[in-house]
Symmetry: C2
Subunit: 321 residues, 2 copies
């Protein structure tokens, strides 16, 4: 790597918000403040060329942005505020500096947009595919993280926006729903949350399994993204199938009490929230309709099994197996 | 990856100390306590087959141990206490599960030995070389991290143990000097610290540059490791050259006042500490001897330049450039 690149990077990083970072790049480790009354949120996710994206086909700036956004989404799913990131790039030796700079454009764009400092990281040049590994750090009020395991029978099921068809391009530019965290914390108690990375029904199933409850989904209310409709035209499947099974929407699935939902109902639409069902004592996913409860199977990306795209990443910190 | 591997891993991880981890593997992110009066220490370092080690030649358990140890050493160099790690493995598809299990044996051994929880991570299978990326988290008392920049003129220069020749095998089984942190914090005020990853003289030069001071080294007092002597026999260079220039010792270089040094002098030897010089106003590295101050050049692994082994990793968070 050229020294000029590192000088450029350090200059760019200095311009980011860094209120919580006491010591950033340039020492053996970063020193970060966690205010009294807060706990640390920490998550890490890696994306790799030919596994999670296709370098050349997907723009480097988008790949960098996505690497940040998927980690920011995990912080949002915990009800956290993201403060700083550690960024590790493993770069193919051909045009390593150009690649690093282009990827960093997207990383810095996301950092600026979501108010996150780059507190440190690592750069390697190697004989392998481009890989971007980010550790995102943040804070949550002590004891008030939104876990997957907190949904209870009677809670309403909420999704934070339309889902499906992200593969048409949205998956590269996700909008992690950090905006919802302060809004919801001010108004209600979220019982449980998860972000939709592997598919609405699969991630909902994980939340149910962690909480020991089931869920009755009014599938007619599920907000289907226009991209899911467009995808359905290409695949011959139903838009609803894409909405239920496609991954990388990065919207949140939320559980809260009926009373809390009624408190925020007037603003909920503005925030993108839609009530689409309720959590029930009987385990499993169920659709509600004219015929009564019908069993649904979770569909989506099953960890550890290759699917068409060759995806084969397992989020150790991000998903129960 | 096989589900049985993940089940095994989660069982093993549960047996580790995890006092500070509120939520570990299995949610969107980990939740970690940072006690009142403490700041977070965060560092990340990646090691890659053919860049930092040679898979097949070096045992997988050692590689896993080393990946943890180099990060633990960075926490020690900040005067921190390590609490938890996020572990990311990128695995070649051939025998991915066996490789992951063998690497994790070393990771878990280090976690057990140094009292660190595995709070999360990521696993990918890809068409590339084995890569292990670890983010280590810990705590330091607020405002009391041992920075590189705190050495002042008149401070004594201390090294925590013999250096040189780690390539003979020690580099795979480093002993991060976390043991020194509580001992020194109880007795003295450390002004500055750095761990020796790229070579004694090079890392000392970095500390001096960050502190805006120079250093006069009594090279005859520098503790030379027996491995440096052995290496010198093979290379024809002097043992002192290996002690000054070889990397991956993972001992600490420390700066403190003369008064503080005298306070701990009686125990210092037991802890491995040796006083080998003093920090001076005149910048640069200088050796003291019969001829008076002689200019020394920092030698060691210069980041971003390939050396014989093909090493080409740049610690963004761990080293100034």
């Amino acid at each position: 790597m050229e020294q000029s690149f590192l000088a450029w990077l350090r200059g760019r990083v200095r311009n980011l918000p860094a209120a919580s970072v006491g010591v950033g790049i340039g020492d053996d480790a970063a020193i970060i403040d966690v205010p009294v009354g807060q706990q640390l949120v920490a998550t890490t996710d890696t994306i790799i060329d030919q596994v999670d994206f296709v370098f050349g086909q997907h723009a480097a700036v988008d790949i960098g942005f996505k690497a940040m956004a998927i980690n920011l989404s995990d912080v949002a799913a915990m009800g956290g505020v993201a403060t700083s990131a550690l960024v590790t790039l493993s770069l193919p030796s051909t045009k390593a500096t150009e690649t690093a700079a282009a990827i960093y454009e997207g990383i810095l764009e996301a950092a600026q947009k979501y108010g996150v400092a780059i507190a440190g990281g690592d750069l390697s040049v190697y004989d392998g595919p481009l890989s971007i590994s980010i550790t995102m750090l943040g804070t949550v009020p002590v004891g008030a993280a939104w876990l997957r395991s907190g949904a209870i029978e009677g809670d309403v099921l909420i999704v934070s926006g339309p889902v499906g068809g992200s593969l048409l391009g949205r998956h590269l530019r996700p909008h992690p729903r950090l905006d919802l965290v302060s809004r919801l914390r001010e108004a209600v108690t979220v019982h449980a949350a998860i972000d939709i990375s592997d598919g609405f029904s699969l991630d909902l199933d994980r939340l149910c399994a962690a909480s020991g409850v089931g869920v009755a989904i009014d599938t007619e209310r599920l907000p289907i993204h226009a991209d899911a409709v467009a995808r359905a035209e290409a695949t011959g499947r139903k838009p609803l199938e894409h909405a239920l099974g496609d991954g990388e929407d990065f919207e949140l699935i939320l559980a809260m009490s009926v009373d809390d939902w009624e408190k925020i109902q007037s603003q909920a639409e503005t925030w993108g929230l839609v009530r689409i069902g309720k959590f029930i004592g009987r385990t499993g996913l169920w659709s509600t309709g004219e015929k009564g409860l019908q069993r649904m199977l979770a569909s989506g990306f099953i960890h550890g099994q290759k699917r068409d795209s060759g995806l084969n990443a397992i989020g150790l910190g991000n998903a129960p197996h």
